[in-house]
């Protein structure tokens, strides 16, 4: 077991700050926020994604970790106290660096849309790459989010997810210590 790095130095304040960042990112899609700035994390795991995991995942949360994060697995399970589940279909949180097939993930039900999965996705960068035009709740005028590292057909994939509303999957995009969010309510155009 390799847990060579500490988690939050002050778990209460730092997880509250990260929670606030996630909340703001979801409430105003397209805005980019800082999270986990002081966190040192094992190799492939971005500090922002690590902070989100430390804040939102615990022993009662079903987490699926993509195989490419094997080197960070021990760190995540130790500091979050979570036992990862073997299949993404049964997970509340999905950690990945390539967008999984959103249609196979848990999307909740009309009575309980909150039972859906949240995808924590690593991207290559913000402010460059693919230009996404966002509109919907929380946006008085359409916003623009530039994300590097999303698939070509992302707007089409997202349209299918958005059509399920109030069901559907929420997406947290992480790069380094910065994060942005695409809640299921937002419309994405290329």
């Amino acid at each position: 077991m390799s847990i060579d790095l500490p988690g939050f130095a002050d778990p209460v304040l730092e997880s509250q700050a990260c929670f606030r960042a996630v909340l703001d990112a979801l409430a105003r899609p397209g805005t980019v926020h800082e999270a986990g700035v002081d966190l040192r994390t094992p190799a492939p795991l971005a500090p922002a994604a690590a902070a989100v995991l430390l804040t939102l995942v615990d022993g009662e949360t079903r987490l699926w970790i993509a195989p490419d994060f094997a080197a960070a697995r021990d760190w995540i399970t130790f500091h979050c106290g979570a036992a990862p589940v073997p299949a993404a279909e049964a997970a509340d949180f999905v950690l990945a660096s390539a967008l999984p097939d959103l249609a196979t993930l848990e999307t909740g039900s009309d009575e309980q849309p909150d039972a859906s999965a949240t995808v924590i996705l690593h991207v290559a960068g913000f402010g460059r790459g693919r230009r996404l035009r966002l509109s919907g709740p929380g946006l008085r005028i359409p916003a623009v989010l530039e994300v590097d590292g999303l698939a070509e057909d992302f707007p089409a994939i997202w349209a299918a997810n958005h059509a399920l509303f109030p069901r559907g999957v929420d997406l947290l995009l992480c790069c380094g210590s910065r994060l942005a969010a695409l809640p299921r309510s937002v419309r994405v155009e290329a």
Binding site: M1, I3, D4, L5, P6, G7, P11, F78, H79
Partner: protein, 160 residues
Amino acid sequence: MPNTAPPETPPPPQAARRHWMSVLARAGAGEIAALLAALPALPGHVRLRGPEAGLVMLRGRAGGGGAAFNLGEMTVMRCTVRLADGPVGHAYVTGRDAAQAELAALLDAALQDPARHDALQAAVIAPLAARQLAARDAAARRAAATKVNFFTMATMRTDS
């Protein structure tokens, strides 16, 4: 699990670690620090988690055949540290003494290092274990002096 291994095989490493962890969990921070003071200083360490307080549920049974019930919650401190040169040590101790949890985790890490194990085992764990055994023995003696054998209790125990 009954210990059926022949006496000449050494105890598995988990058993040895379990022993020193339990001794450290029962020793006070002052006691451990006093014994450590006589030894060369341990290398620096990084706190990986804690020391932080939490609660564990204690479960009990009434009588030999009773179902388990929740007796109550108890405060526990836990700490995980990594020594500058490698091993990771954990400690869970009852109470609210952060210094004890950190010292116990530090010693757990150091005791896993073969180069340090024997000196620490002899200078810290053995005296603490002897002290704890003597204290338990004295308490058992005091209790035994007041023991009363009830005939009815003895016959009730035989049915289950």
